[in-house]
Subunit: 191 residues, 2 copies
């Protein structure tokens, strides 16, 4: 998606450790107009008529997924990150490793809001190692629901998470795949 | 706001400890149509023409605030909850006490995205003791920005956070103020 790539090049900052900061429009300050264009783009790649539910993970996926849910008139569930050992029952859960916080995190979602009849599109702002995505797919499977696909705004292609999902046959669409980055030189994978 | 109150009565669950769960439409599963009606309602109470920026706190405020930002064509910043001691510079920060997690949490927002010229409307899904709100107002003040007002969907009136802000002269509008709750009997404050 050219508009997204242009914004990444223009406003993104490459930090040591292959970190790409796009917090001016995607995951701290939110540009909802761009989010809406991203939603439109996802609409070209997924059959939204069959989707019954969008799923994302807190916190930074919520803004984009909310605009997508609004755009397509679908409900959204965001999986929470459990912060206490005292988690109530009635939950789907998946343990993932958070590279951001360098520790295990448990993604949870109430069973009440995801049924085996659901056809789910997962939306996230960012994918690197794909741990959060793996956790979300876990939750879809635990619910016995159908995974329609995965829509991701920015994928760090060189960290392999997206390619592992492709190899596993997941219908994944990332709108900007970054294959390498250093200050002043962000290289995108060709569409 | 009658539509919101009706949803709380119909779908909300009162749990021990005066906890009101509205996670079927507000803060776990998201009904973006209702969120949009809430945005519309805020538009009656605040002069959106003068607002330059919406501000909320992760995680559960993001969905509602995103729909509001989209509705009014304004940028949104969500303050993050710092999870590590290793917080980079260039941030506004405010320490608050999280009653949910029973510990101190630091709200942070990048200085880059909030300027002293901003006229800010704070949006949140829920207010109880008002600690998160206090932290967000702190950030507005640290930035030297102007606080236009506070828009809150559900306020637990009996926990005093909203009334403390009213007493301090903050222009706050909560769309459903719950003055008492027990299973089967949720009492709203009159408008």
């Amino acid at each position: 998606m050219q508009e997204l790539k242009d914004r990444i090049v223009k406003e993104g900052k490459v930090l040591p450790g292959n970190i790409i900061k796009v917090d001016g429009f995607l995951n701290h300050r939110i540009d909802t107009v761009l989010m809406d264009h991203i939603a439109e783009e996802f609409g070209k790649h997924f059959n939204m008529d069959e989707v019954t539910l969008l799923l994302t993970a807190e916190a930074s996926g919520i803004a984009l997924a909310t605009v997508c849910a609004h755009h397509f008139g679908k409900p959204l569930v965001f999986a929470k990150k459990a912060k206490s050992d005292n988690i109530e029952g009635g939950l789907y859960r998946s343990d993932i490793f958070s590279y951001t916080y360098k520790k295990k995190v448990t993604l949870i979602a109430a069973k009440e809001w995801i049924s085996s009849d659901d056809k789910i599109l997962i939306i996230d702002d960012f994918m690197a190692n794909g741990e959060a995505m793996r956790g979300l797919i876990d939750i879809v499977n635990s619910a016995g629901a159908e995974l329609v696909g995965v829509g991701c705004a920015v994928e760090k292609g060189f960290q392999g998470g997206g390619d592992r999902l492709r190899a596993a046959g997941v219908n994944i669409k990332s709108l900007a795949i970054i294959d390498s980055c250093e200050p002043g030189n962000i290289v995108f994978r060709e569409d």
